[in-house]
């Protein structure tokens, strides 16, 4: 599994979702996997992607919402896992891409335990860990929302497309998608 194939498996299992991706790997992988679909790609604001997804989920409770988060990014905004449990939107799944590295800044290792699943469980959130495409498909379909899905992988090949997105264009395309 690599980031692009992981994100493709997530999208295939939840094809109607509104999607928010964190900066760096998650945004590049989502661009590659969706052929530049109308998603809310973060160009920066490290640590805010899950909070953004919470806002999307609360405005559109009738739509499934996915937050695709790098593990380093998710740590910077770790308080949002508490907010996910507090607000408990019934349409939001947070997927943490866990390779244990800060890829966009040059591949430095995380300095803390990547314990997203155990933390989510302690918060009363549904959680699971996937290590294959088949497990991703099964968990994305089966996990009750809100939930946190850990995806653990080792192939850290860069997805390809630039993560430096054209912000107004991203916003406009996402607004169109979210108005459906």
């Amino acid at each position: 599994m690599n980031p692009t194939s992981i994100v493709r498996a997530v999208l295939d299992a939840d094809p109607d979702a509104l999607v928010v991706s964190s900066l760096g790997t998650a945004t590049s992988a989502l661009r590659a996997a969706s052929d530049d679909g109308p998603h809310l790609y973060m160009g920066g604001s490290m640590g805010t992607a899950l909070a953004v997804a919470l806002g999307v989920a609360e405005k559109r409770p009738d739509r499934p919402v996915l937050a695709l988060l790098g593990d380093g990014e998710a740590l910077m905004g770790a308080g949002s896992f508490w907010s996910l449990a507090g607000l408990a939107p019934a349409n939001l799944l947070a997927v943490v891409l866990m390779d244990g590295h800060y890829t966009i800044t040059g591949g430095q290792q995380l300095g803390v335990p990547g314990a997203f699943g155990p933390v989510a469980a302690a918060l009363g959130l549904a959680t699971a860990t996937a290590r294959s495409h088949e497990e991703i498909t099964g968990h994305v379909r089966a996990l009750p929302r809100p939930a946190v899905l850990e995806v653990r992988y080792e192939d850290r090949s860069w997805p390809g497309p630039s993560p430096f997105v054209d912000a107004p264009v991203v916003r406009w395309r996402f607004e169109e998608e979210a108005s459906r």
Partner: protein
Amino acid sequence: MTWQATLADALIESGVEVAAWVPDKRLAPIAQRLTERGVPPRTLTREEECFGYAAGYRAAGGMPLVLAQCSGLGNALNAIGSLVIPFGLAFPVVLSMRGTLGERNPSQMPLGRSTVATLEALGVQPFALRDPADAARYAKGAVNVAEGARVLAPILLEAELDL
């Protein structure tokens, strides 16, 4: 009716659908009124998160509000600078001012003193509310700026107000 209730009512009547905040004593009367009017503020863990939440809510087609103490602006700068502004995800903000006339806490002074300069350095125009009689006009004006002009619209609750 208090000016805080007038402000909250005018924000709702102008189209605000949801609010996010980190609790603050000076903002509490506004939050209380929002709750009474069916818009209970979402209590999040950090001001940066409130701006992220509001950006997402706005991108999905809604009109959010952020309530924060001015010291929380410091916690939110990256969300404002690399998400809210470049993406054009505008909404009204109510900032309660600390570190200004009457402050007794030394730790509040630096960020209170630099709030306006910080906003202006980011290109964000602050609207300083000093007269309680202006509450409704400022609330409507801030929503207009966010909705129409599509820029962040912070109302500063200044020391002249009875907070």
